[in-house]
Symmetry: C2
Subunit: 123 residues, 2 copies
């Protein structure tokens, strides 16, 4: 499978789900998944879902600026590196962010997120 | 080995080498290594070294703001996610950047860079 096509489809799905049904992101993680969000690390689908759904903002919209991807080895896994901005409801200025995902193929011919690292880019 | 210690040591070594002896970065890559630098992808130690040493600036200094890391699987590989700023000689303003590395253990108990993705964060 073309890593660029995987990356684009994943990014489109991930941020649309984040912006419309954040709890639905739980299906993308498994129990060995890790999330680093602005530093602190969380592991496992329950803890990651709890973290994502308890962030101190509700409505938001991600705008994606760049998507880079590379195969992370010979087994079909893909690294995805995203930059963009995050508009929070009621805030005048969007926040720039960078985020990376490590996508692992599943037996169902899909992918799950093993690694997820998010950082705001402070100006 | 502690992934955080690996990440800190790698980041310190990588950017010090970049800023003082950029051609010396070649020892960190192998022939299956990939570099995405502001979009375009390069593969292999020769092509990556050529890319890094032909960037349109000579003297520079990286300042590191954040280092995140996670194990990328059960084999000792480590993902490193860096944010910081890049000061070019003669330029008034530093450029913000984000960069990720996928470090793979070598038989010599060291690591090489399999994946390297660099992006400037435009304000």
């Amino acid at each position: 499978m073309d890593p660029d096509a995987v990356a684009r489809a994943f990014v489109e799905h991930y941020y649309r789900t984040f912006d419309t049904n954040r709890a639905g992101l739980s299906t993308l993680y498994q129990d060995n998944s890790m999330l680093s969000f602005e530093g602190p690390k969380t592991q496992g689908v329950a803890a990651i879902t709890a973290k994502l759904t308890s962030l101190p903002f509700q409505q938001c919209h991600h705008n994606i600026s760049t998507i880079d991807c590379q195969p992370s080895g010979p087994t079909g896994s893909v690294l995805v590196f995203v930059s963009g901005s995050l508009q929070l409801a009621g805030e005048q200025h969007a926040l720039k962010f960078s985020q990376m995902f490590h996508l692992i193929p599943t037996p169902q011919a899909s992918f799950y997120v093993l690694n997820d690292i998010f950082r705001l880019n402070y100006a």
